[in-house]
Symmetry: C2
Subunit: 354 residues, 2 copies
């Protein structure tokens, strides 16, 4: 049994449960016994997978039934062809036959007579501390994200649209092996819009502040980063804003050590911006977890986890000031026992192709 499954078996034992019922893609990819489960469950998730110490039972649904049957030789796959009962009915029948009394589950379940199902996402808990396999895939995701950002910023020149620029970065990431890649640009002189107000067909002009936030998935793992730049010299206020974001990033990322309290790191960023009178313009989270999805730890205004060795998270301070502009820098950070390691290797000042 590989060690992820070993740790799951121990968690089930402690809870007095016989199996873990998973409907979340993150947990399914994490626990499946396959060299690259993201090529089996390429999108979405299997309707249900039952992981116990002894075996794995997959209820694949009609769209992925053939693939699971052929590609998961170490699992019991309950086929679902046209006309068969839906997977959740098959699950219910299976549980009755197998006599499983208690399950943990990563999703709220309808009641199934004879089986107690407790919502307890032990998968998310176990996934928090990254193992060697996680790290290898995350480094690859970070490398490909780096390539995308470098390629996009090298393509920047006044007269092109942000779509033309991000097309280059997206293509580079797909060619390098990302199964999915999307770039969310925000561009404009005096850009202080976040999730809105972006016309990606607008032409880039001298004096713009440009930031590109990007995400890709590589073997199911998120690659995610952001870089910001001024097109040309910019104004003194724009240069000050960009330098302040860089300063906030450096301080926050260096504080990401085991035992650090997230809320203190967040407050440090607030203080940096407050010194410029911009505290009210830092409106979003500082960190989300990294990995296969829905990952801990997170750091935002309302809550901040205490960091542990083995955590992986983004660090992305950004500030968006009406009349000046907006900027964000985001790197992927691994919290090792000896301190923060930047999985993102691209310099925080991107090279423009001007």
């Amino acid at each position: 049994m590989h060690s992820r499954r070993q740790r799951l078996a121990e968690a089930l034992d402690r809870a007095g449960a016989q199996a873990f019922l998973s409907q979340s893609r993150s947990n399914q990819l994490y626990f499946l016994d396959h060299p690259d489960p993201s090529t089996v469950i390429s999108r979405g998730s299997a309707p249900a997978i039952l992981f116990s110490a002894e075996k794995t039972v997959v209820f694949p649904g009609i769209w992925i039934s053939n693939a699971c049957r052929d590609m998961l030789p170490n699992c019991e796959v309950i086929p679902c062809d046209l006309g068969d009962p839906p997977p959740m009915e098959q699950l219910e029948a299976y549980l009755k036959k197998a006599g499983l009394k208690k399950l943990l589950s990563d999703q709220l379940q309808p009641q199934i007579p004879g089986t107690e199902i407790v919502v307890d996402d032990v998968g998310a808990l176990l996934r928090r501390t990254k193992d060697e396999r996680d790290l290898a895939f995350m480094r690859e995701a970070a490398r490909i994200a780096d390539l995308g950002i470098r390629t996009a910023f090298k393509a920047v020149r006044p007269g092109l649209t942000t779509l033309e620029v991000t097309a280059e970065g997206t293509a580079a990431m797909l060619k390098a092996g990302a199964e999915y890649a999307v770039m969310n640009p925000a561009v404009g002189i005096g850009t202080y819009y976040l999730d809105s107000g972006e016309n990606p067909r607008r032409v880039i002009r001298e004096g713009d502040m440009l930031f590109i936030d990007m995400a890709c998935y590589v073997h199911g793992y998120l690659g995610d980063m952001t870089r910001a730049a001024i097109i040309g010299e910019g104004t003194p206020q724009q240069r000050d804003l960009l330098a302040t974001v860089h300063q906030a990033y450096r301080a926050a990322s260096q504080a990401m050590v085991p035992g650090a309290e997230g809320r203190r790191i967040y407050q440090g960023v607030v203080d940096t911006y407050a010194a410029k009178g911009w505290a009210k313009y830092f409106v979003h989270h500082l960190s989300h977890g990294l990995g296969l999805g829905a990952d801990r730890p997170g750091i935002n205004r309302e809550s901040g986890d205490v960091l542990q060795a083995g955590d992986a998270l983004s660090c992305e301070p950004g500030v968006y000031v009406p009349g000046i502009g907006g900027a964000r820098v985001e790197n992927m950070i691994y919290v090792s026992a000896s301190g923060p390691e930047e999985l993102t290797r691209c310099p925080i000042v991107p090279e423009l192709g001007l």
Copy 2:
């Protein structure tokens, strides 16, 4: 008042309601008074917009507050800065002050004292029949999707991965002005996997059956199509399978006339495949609606709308036969009064760059 809002006002009148409360992006983009609302609400949706005969009130939430304030001069925008009450609280206060007694809403709402809120998505109903503006944007989305598919298939050659091929198509769509583009390839000799079992890093080989399904968004409108091909000569069974899918597509698309019953069109496809013994391998829908999202009409195994002049929908028969392979063809169809018009112009047999 533009005619979409005129029709909405009439629908509200008939229901005895004073306003339409919208949380769905599709409806927000449809009714907002702006030349291209997709550049204002670039992603996601505003937490709430209230459309009445007299005016539009936008409750934007903190991330998009500045953009809405600056870019929607014809709307009342309730600003949301850091520390302000959340948008739904502001909505409640607004409703109380304005004395609105009855609203229709496109989403289930928490109770708000003093206002009756009826879940009735009149927006989806009105959006079904396409107007000139819809058609112009949909033709543009179809044109860009065409370009993506042509570019990708021209890049196909044995020895490349599907990622390398779809990267070319994706980049072409972004450069041509799609704000978002994603290609979902499925490749493999004997491919009969649908939403699973795709390793996009697998190298394309002589004898493979390849299909590429693709989606892009252009000014908020979906562009969507699929093409299939055999790499090289293929086997007689593979050629028969591909020809049968083409035949099923032609018959189904030509049947998409006003008054046609969706379930009969669906049955026609089932019969075509049944004649080959493949009925059980046609497992998905035939059609989804097209437009700004969550569009009617749809045609699937369980239900089929009766088609009306002004409808727009996909036509995408596909069949995935163990031991032979899988193929799907998908075009965008506009149901005009005089019959089906293919918005997709790319030939159903794509040109390969072999």
